[in-house]
């Protein structure tokens, strides 16, 4: 509904402007179709998605573990807690120059940027979620004999799941943003590079086509994964799914 108003406004604006700087939805749709056919878009999308998935998986695993250890170990908390909060105010793309110096123009450099972008919000959300697990649940599990890893994976992480999920969603958008920023600056395949190409050759329709693709990617992840998980949390915990 809202989307159709948006597209309608866009179409109206572009026909009013009647300029190559603001192509309408139809022109952009044609560009997308063409880019799909000649394989540039699928290739770029594939490259970006692969990077995103790898970086995100690493961020998710490390972020959850880091968050749990921040929540459960006062030593870890006092040692690196302030550092984490400080670092999370640095936009992850600022690390790109350093990453390039370290790793050269390689996948490692771009992965560094993705992980630095996504890991921190996941860790911070996980820490909060684990900290807010009702102590009664942990005590109950302990009276039943749960300890160590079984307490962690069987009770603490499931109990913190709704909070971890919101961190994971945040982490996903951060990963996507970091990736795009990285690809824009660091030319080597992917949607970001295609965006940069669009600018170079003055092809506004291509630039908009990529933006539409990124929006679609965000929606698809919501629809395929996060939306479902949200509904499952709602069903179990009895909270309203957003």
């Amino acid at each position: 509904m809202f989307a159709s108003i948006l597209v309608g406004t866009w179409a109206a604006a572009s026909s009013l402007a009647n300029s190559p700087l603001l192509p309408g939805p139809i022109a952009v749709g044609r560009t997308i179709a063409a880019a799909l056919r000649d394989g540039t878009l699928p290739r770029a999308l594939g490259t970006s998605l692969l990077r995103l998935l790898v970086g995100y998986a690493v961020s998710l695993g490390c972020g959850v573990l880091l968050g749990v250890s921040l929540a459960r170990s006062p030593k870890t908390k006092s040692a690196i807690g302030p550092l984490i909060l400080g670092l999370s105010s640095v936009p992850s793309i600022c690390w790109l120059p350093l990453a390039i110096l370290w790793f050269g123009l390689s996948e490692w450099a771009i992965q560094t940027v993705i992980v630095l972008g996504a890991l921190l919000p996941i860790a911070v959300a996980t820490e909060g979620a684990v900290r807010h697990v009702p102590p009664q649940l942990i005590r109950a599990a302990r009276t039943m004999g749960a300890r160590g890893p079984r307490l962690l994976f069987g009770v603490m992480i499931p109990a913190a799941f709704p909070g971890i999920l919101s961190g994971a969603k945040l982490g996903w958008t951060f990963a996507l943003r970091s990736l795009m920023a990285g690809e824009l600056l660091f030319v080597s395949g992917g949607l970001g590079q295609l965006l940069e190409t669009g600018r170079d050759i003055g092809d506004t329709a291509l630039v908009l086509a990529i933006i539409v693709t990124i929006v679609a990617l965000g929606r698809a992840s919501e629809w395929l994964l996060f939306g479902r998980l949200d509904r499952e949390v709602g069903r179990r915990w009895g909270t309203e799914a957003a």
């Binding site: 909060g128 807010h132 102590p135 005590r139 009276t143 039943m144 004999g145 109990a159 179990r236 009895g238």
Partner: protein, 303 residues
């Protein structure tokens, strides 16, 4: 339905062998003191408590807020270790929590991400019970607390009283020798509370577990207990025992229960008044001081 569940239900006959239940264990505290370590130093919660609970006895701990009732349950559960003295089960020191001692909490503490049945099976899974046996046991327990129809429900779909019955079923899953209950019915309405008191007494009579039941409600204590242990505060300590020598099962509206209750209530009134006075003083002495917030009230508020 109730009658069928109390007697041997038809489906129990079909099962290969009736379970041998673990008998209750005796529990004792010997000159137990316990201090919490806080930022402001050690805080004495229990001072030199002696308590012996017989195997198969139902003891109620009654006393004002802060008298250390929950602390004693946590000590028996093995969740806390005494600062001084010894906590024994059948004469042997208790070393950490374990499935032989189960706890039921005021807010049920069922796991929200598991169905009722999976909640009941969770301790069995921890104990490594094979799946088939787990299924049979959870069914048996849920039938016993009349919740079989809700086996697939999540805790949030149940009423407070149903959740509490679920928590009792979960606590009984590993067939513990001692059942610890910390104000399990405090948050329930009067009718539900009376029904559940009846259930606890029935389960107690059927299984002969040792039960330690904490309550603020003197009438509840008199209805359930073989013996009431009165506790005092500042610091928390055991004041004295009251034997409740009434026949079982006891009716909620039994006159003798009411009579005993009035008597016991008189005993603890002076303690409660002492607390009320001191707390009023505290509030006056420390204006703008830190207010103790019940963490249960803002559950999830920080997310």
């Amino acid at each position: 339905m109730t009658a069928a569940a109390i007697g041997l239900p038809a489906d129990a006959v079909a099962r290969p062998s009736p379970r041998a239940t673990r008998p209750g264990a005796s529990t004792s505290l010997e000159r137990v003191s316990f201090s919490f370590q806080t930022e402001k130093g050690a805080r004495l919660a229990i001072e030199s408590a002696n308590l012996h609970i017989e195997a198969g006895e139902l003891v109620c701990l009654v006393g004002p807020s802060g008298s250390g009732k929950s602390t004693i349950l946590n000590l028996i559960a093995g969740l806390l270790a005494p600062t001084e003295g010894r906590v024994l089960e059948n004469g042997a020191p208790i070393d950490g929590p374990g499935p032989a001692r189960a706890m039921v909490f005021q807010d049920a503490a069922l796991f929200p991400w598991l169905t009722l049945r999976d909640n009941v099976e969770y301790p069995l899974q921890l104990a490594g019970t094979p799946k088939g046996e787990r299924r049979a046991r959870s069914e048996e327990l849920l039938r016993m607390v009349h919740l079989w129809r809700f086996a697939q429900s999540f805790p949030h779909e149940l009423s407070g009283g149903m959740r509490q019955r679920g928590a009792i079923a979960r606590a009984l899953a590993t067939d513990p020798a001692v059942l610890l209950m910390d104000e399990p019915f405090a948050a329930l309405d009067a009718q539900t509370r009376e029904i559940l008191q009846g259930e606890v007494e029935r389960i107690f009579l059927e299984t002969r577990k040792t039960v330690v039941f904490v309550t603020h409600n003197v009438r509840e204590a008199v209805r359930l207990a073989d013996r009431i242990v009165l506790m005092g505060t500042r610091p928390g300590r055991i004041l004295r025992d009251v034997i409740i020598d009434l026949p079982r099962p006891r009716a909620a509206n039994d006159e003798r229960v009411a009579w005993f209750a009035a008597d016991v209530a008189g005993e603890i009134r002076s303690e409660v008044e002492k607390i009320a006075r001191e707390e009023a003083d505290d509030a006056w002495v420390a204006p703008g001081g830190r207010v103790r917030v019940d963490p249960r009230r803002n559950m999830g508020g920080g997310i």
